[in-house]
């Protein structure tokens, strides 16, 4: 009886196969982990090193290569903020980003709503025209844009830096939001119309609250683009009091070329908001990238 109840031992050959399978599985996982871990370290290391360097002094920064700073010089951040003018640049970046993001959301959502829900002559033509900039690369257009801004007296003004960027966000914004509105059921809007809402009220109080996820994607996507923008800031803005962070970093590097701790502190200041946004809104960013890329 006993012999019948104990499970039969697998044959030697079969056991060997199990072992081979286990080792293969373990190896594959090990190799995958090593690859991913190495790349992750390569991604993080320059950033960790940058933060560590921002806490060293001018005299230790080139000799002390440690990543853990024992006597952290937090005053570097104060120096960068005041003497390096990063406080001013930070405020400017915050202002430009906020205004452009709101500008894009308002103008793009209104147009997208009209393209999706309202009937009017020239609708398809205008829609194609407005999103055409997503397909046609015009790398020289900044020259003509600059000439135009000179004519409009908008060079070296906040408005001259803001308006072209609101326009720059329109194409993707209209495309994303129109696609989103198209998929929304229309019953709610019809009900609101019957209850006496006008077109604008339906857009503002029914459609927009429903579009929150798409609006979030758009906001994050544009915030990143504006915060990181450099070329237009270089062409349009020459007063330090108007410059955003990216431009400020280049100006600082040009005039204090060897003050690495302060430069690194400035860089850290410039990426803190973007990293915060990234960690908080991570899934929207990934959604935005995929949507932005799959637009074609």
């Amino acid at each position: 009886m006993d012999a019948l109840l104990t499970p039969a031992r697998p044959s030697e050959k079969f056991q060997l196969q199990i072992w081979i399978y286990k080792i293969e599985h373990w190896l594959r996982h090990g190799v995958a982990q090593v690859i991913c871990f190495t790349v992750a370290v390569a991604c993080l290391f320059p950033l960790v090193w940058m933060v560590a360097s921002s806490l060293k002094t001018q005299s230790t920064v080139f000799s002390d290569m440690s990543l853990w700073v024992r006597h952290a010089h937090w005053e570097n951040y104060y120096q960068a903020w005041t003497r390096g003018h990063f406080g001013q640049y930070f405020f400017n970046s915050l202002l430009y980003t906020t205004v452009v993001v709101f500008g894009v959301i308002i103008t793009a959502s209104m147009a997208a709503y009209a393209f999706s829900r309202l009937r009017f002559p020239g609708r398809n033509f205008l829609f194609i025209l407005l999103i055409s900039t997503m397909m046609i690369p015009i790398p020289g257009s900044f020259i003509a844009l600059y000439v135009l801004l000179v004519k409009l007296d908008l060079v070296n003004t906040r408005l001259g830096y803001i308006l072209p960027q609101v326009n720059g966000g329109l194409a993707l914004g209209i495309f994303l939001l129109k696609t989103f509105f198209d998929k929304l059921p229309q019953d709610l809007e019809d009900a609101a119309r019957i209850d006496g809402c006008n077109k604008f009220q339906v857009y503002r109080h029914v459609a927009m609250p429903l579009a929150k996820p798409a609006v979030a994607v758009l906001a994050v996507f544009n915030a990143l683009a504006v915060w990181n923008e450099y070329l237009l800031a270089m062409l349009v803005l020459s007063d330090r009091s108007l410059m955003p962070l990216q431009r400020g970093l280049m100006v600082f590097q040009g005039s204090h070329i060897t003050e690495y701790p302060l430069l690194m502190a400035g860089i850290a200041i410039s990426i803190i908001p973007i990293l915060t946004l990234y960690f908080v809104m991570q899934r929207y960013i990934v959604a935005g990238i995929t949507a932005g890329a799959l637009k074609m």
Binding site: P137, S141, L163, P164, N167, K199, Y203, L231, I267, L294
Partner: protein
């Protein structure tokens, strides 16, 4: 048309008005202005413009060696990004697509470099590659490879490849996100059914993954080409085109013609030429992409 209908259309057009005005002023006018300026010799300030016909284009195509050097440099970086960067992105996406420990951690970390600005990335790597205080040389000395140490971004032999490394460091995470999204769209049952039927890893990869991912591959490659050919921020914050012309790229040449030598018309003709080349690449891509989706 009744008065009510007119009023209704008027309010409808109010929805698209802000977008259309912004687009007309900041996209449409500059677009045509670029073509107009390209046939003139103009310094950007004086009221006098010399009509030169297609002379600017002839100069650019037949006499401007630095322009074609810049094209070749950008093409070199693009080729490296297309192969190495996208290969790495694909390998990582395939690993993370499987069940692996720390999946979410890797996903967050790999997409960190792409959310940073080109200026920040350039300034940090500038210091890593620095000849006298650079981290890379410090590491090489530490490993007894001191004879390899050099000023990586100031040495004509390595400058362009240094730029390519920085660009790929910043860019691979973006390809990773899109490729991962593509892989996750493949139904799991397909792979499992193939495995039950006795297909090995390689068969699954070549017979299922690759054919289904072809449209995504094409998408990632076209966006890599368009993005890399227009590289600018990383150049301006590291080498600014030097040493000599070794890291000049099309955008820096267009800016040099515009801001450096005040030849606005010539800069526009370079922009158009560059735009046409990019457009040609996009068109080839679109054809290939259509062909590949018919194939699947």
């Amino acid at each position: 048309m009744s008065w009510n209908r007119v009023k209704d259309l008027f309010t409808t057009y109010l929805f698209v008005l802000p977008a259309v005005v912004l687009f007309s002023v900041f996209s449409l006018i500059p677009f045509f202005k670029v073509f107009q300026l390209s046939v003139f010799e103009w310094d950007g300030i004086s009221p006098h413009m010399d009509f030169v016909g297609l002379g600017n284009f002839a100069t650019a195509i037949f006499h401007d060696t630095s322009w074609w050097v810049s094209m070749r440099n950008a093409a070199t970086i693009t080729l490296l990004a297309l192969t190495l960067q996208n290969f790495l992105a694909l390998v990582l996406a395939m690993i993370v697509d499987r069940e692996i420990e720390g999946k979410n951690f890797y996903r967050v970390v790999f997409y960190l470099p792409p959310v940073l600005s080109g200026i920040v990335v350039g300034l940090v790597w500038n210091w890593i590659f620095d000849g006298s205080h650079g981290l890379l040389n410090y590491a090489l000395h530490g490993m007894g490879l001191g004879h390899w140490a050099r000023a990586w971004l100031a040495d004509p032999h390595t400058a362009l490849y240094g730029i390519a490394v920085i660009h790929m460091w910043k860019g691979f995470g973006w390809g990773f996100v899109i490729l991962l999204a593509g892989l996750q769209a493949i139904p799991r049952e397909l792979n499992e059914a193939a495995r039950v039927d006795g297909a090995g890893e390689w068969t699954i990869f070549s017979k299922i993954t690759v054919p289904l991912m072809l449209p995504v591959f094409f998408l990632v490659s076209i966006l890599t080409i368009l993005g890399t050919m227009q590289i600018f921020d990383i150049i301006v914050s590291t080498t600014n085109g030097g040493p000599g012309y070794h890291t000049e790229v099309p955008i820096t040449r267009i800016l040099a013609a515009m801001v450096g030598s005040s030849r606005f018309g010539y800069a526009c003709s370079l922009g158009i030429l560059f735009g046409l080349i990019l457009l040609a690449v996009s068109l080839v891509q679109m054809r290939l992409s259509k062909w590949s989706s018919r194939y699947t």
